[in-house]
């Protein structure tokens, strides 16, 4: 077992979880035994089938759920002993369904709500709101009622309202479900920008293509535990593990696996890469 970290230790671990167990009222065990460290600035894809425990795990990080046992340490502080509003300044959470968190009359009010409730000064609030509206490309929609917007725009409002609280960690639960390619690409680009600024991103998804294109690290969950923790290539080269966790690799990865004994690497994650490997020999002749 990994030793429990001492709070305030001088490393860049922003999240540290030791032997987390979570049982819902009624006895359903959603997390059996989970330990993980996440460094500041990491981009983690948390993947697994429906019911694998990924959303429950995420809610244990921001205090929406409290561990049944085990320790969650966020930036050196024990999450169980930290009030939810305090945690909210560090861990931002955007729900899968943006409509669960949208309730104000305008986009601007929606985005103001977080920092207002965290007690920032009016100047600070204004600055945070402008930055969040810019980051999610929402300036032109600031006076609109959030619920009148398209799904992709509502998702961006819900993420902007998280950005406005300026957390170090962003947890996004299936942010691209139901979005078109264009909207999805735009949103993922915005998340990439946050990561480049040094924010830690935890992306909950079962879209393997998204994972292959964006994440630095893939954590695969199945029935309440982590069954694989690796870089995206490592995750895609283990078809058995993916199947066990109700995931499917992208078609091009399946094709690369089928061609493995012909000299194609099994961890190919894009069509461009596969074609490069296929034609490499031909080009050099």
């Amino acid at each position: 077992m990994i030793p429990a970290p001492s709070p305030g230790q001088g490393d860049d671990k922003i999240i540290s979880v030791r032997n987390l167990r979570f049982t819902y009222e009624g006895g359903v065990v959603a997390i059996t035994d989970l330990s993980i460290d996440i460094r500041k600035g990491d981009y983690v894809a948390l993947v697994g089938g429906n019911g694998s425990g990924k959303t429950t795990f995420a809610k244990n990080l921001n205090g929406l759920l409290r561990p049944s046992s085990g320790i969650v340490t966020i930036r050196g502080r024990d999450a169980a002993r930290t009030a939810v509003p305090e945690l909210a300044k560090i861990v931002g959470y955007a729900f899968q369904n943006p409509d669960y968190q949208l309730f104000c009359a305008t986009v601007e009010e929606e985005v103001r709500f977080g920092p207002l409730n965290l007690g920032y000064s009016e100047d600070d609030i204004r600055r945070k709101v402008e930055r969040a509206l810019d980051a999610m490309n929402l300036q032109h929609l600031r006076d609109k009622p959030p619920l009148s917007l398209r799904l992709g725009e509502r998702r961006r409002v819900s993420i902007a309202s998280v950005i406005a609280m300026d957390p170090d960690i962003f947890i996004l639960d299936e942010p691209t479900t139901g979005l078109d390619t264009e909207e999805s690409d735009m949103l993922m680009q915005k998340l990439q920008n946050l990561n480049v600024e040094g924010k830690t991103i935890i992306l909950i998804t079962h879209d393997m293509r998204l994972v292959s294109e964006h994440a630095k690290r893939v954590v695969v969950m199945s029935v309440g535990r982590i069954i694989l923790d690796s870089d995206p290539r490592g995750a895609f080269s283990d078809l058995e593990i993916l199947r066990r966790s109700n995931l499917e690799p992208p078609a091009v990865t399946k094709l690369a696996h089928a061609l493995k004994d012909k000299g194609i690497p099994a961890d190919v994650i894009s069509p461009q890469e596969l074609v490069f490997h296929l034609l490499r020999g031909g080009e050099s002749r």
Binding site: G49, N50, G51, R150, L151, G152, T177, G178, L179, D180, T181, E182, E183, H206, M208, R209, R243, N246, L247, E248, P250, A251, V252, K254, L255, A258, L259, K262, G263, I264, P271, Q272, L274, V275, H277, L278, L279, R280, G281, G282, S284, R285
Partner: protein, 289 residues
């Protein structure tokens, strides 16, 4: 026989400024498996609603043109009558499940058609077996996984013995394996039962392999109709319409461009593997380890 015929159909939802469908003409033959591909707002859901009469009968708006379902005009018929011919399955299975057990759920349709009791029992068993949910009769639908719920919703449609099944993004809320299992059921409906199927999707990765034709929609118009091999061969064009092209189409298109040919098109991993092994690797395309 024509299962569905749309002639110059235009439809605008009440309160909307845009035509959801604009001058759409389309014929679906009985026994065909048609995938309607498009992004949000392309009109694919409206096609689904037209195919069972919900548009224009239950959902109001401006309607022009003509719709025939199994060669009879929808005007003058009721949704209830059309429902005996056409089953529909929506994105979220929760929106159409409401009974206490899987069996009640699947029996609900035929009960309301006053089908004799012993026949209802046969239909329930047949439908549950077809969707791979045999033995789940007494389970509560709400205790099932998303994929299982969606398969129960399909069984509940099938027990009405429809001549056509319409599915609007049925894999939307499912994880990849749930999606895979759902597609196996659809493949079997086509292969073994010759069911007429209209499937609306935003992603044709799986459906490409067994759709007879693909209808590509953009901004309320049909922009392309044809076999998957033709309609999916230009990934860039699909991307411009907000549709994620199948990765295998991308591989084929890159090979075509690099080898100055147009002969490659792959609909399945197996097909791609054997063609690539034979024609590219077999000719020394890859550096061997």
């Amino acid at each position: 026989m024509k299962a569905l015929e749309l002639k110059d159909v235009r439809f605008k939802y009440r309160g909307s400024d845009n035509w959801a469908l604009d001058s759409v003409s389309l014929v679906v033959e009985k026994g065909e498996f048609i995938t309607v591909l498009g992004c949000n707002g392309s009109g694919k859901s409206t096609i689904c609603l037209l195919a069972n009469g919900l548009v224009p009968h239950a959902i109001q708006g401006d309607f022009e043109g003509s719709v025939e379902i199994f060669e009879k005009p929808v005007m003058g018929r009721t949704v209830a009558e059309i429902a005996t011919k056409v089953g529909i399955v929506f994105q979220e299975p929760e929106s159409q499940l409401f009974c206490m057990s899987v069996e009640e759920e699947v029996a609900f349709g035929p009960e309301n058609l006053a089908v004799p009791r012993h026949e209802i029992r046969e239909r329930v068993e047949w439908a549950l077996e077809l969707v791979g949910m045999k033995g789940y009769n007494d389970r509560s639908p709400f205790s099932l996984s998303g994929g299982q719920k969606q398969r129960v919703a399909i069984a509940a449609s099938l027990s009405m013995h429809p001549d056509m099944l319409v599915l609007d993004e049925p894999a939307y809320a499912l994880d990849p394996i749930g999606r895979h299992d759902l597609y196996s059921v659809l493949r079997e409906l086509k292969g073994k039962h010759g069911m007429t199927v209209i499937l609306a999707e935003r992603d044709a990765e799986e459906a490409a392999a067994f759709s007879d034709r693909i209808v590509i929609m953009n901004k309320g118009k049909v922009v392309d109709v044809g076999p998957p091999r033709d309609t999916l061969r230009n990934p860039d064009k699909l991307k411009r319409m907000g549709i994620q092209p199948p990765q295998l189409s991308e591989v084929a298109s890159l090979l075509n461009a690099r080898l100055s040919t147009s002969k490659y098109s792959f609909l399945t991993v197996d097909e791609a593997e054997s063609t690539i092994t034979r024609e590219i690797i077999g000719r020394g395309g890859v550096v061997r380890k």
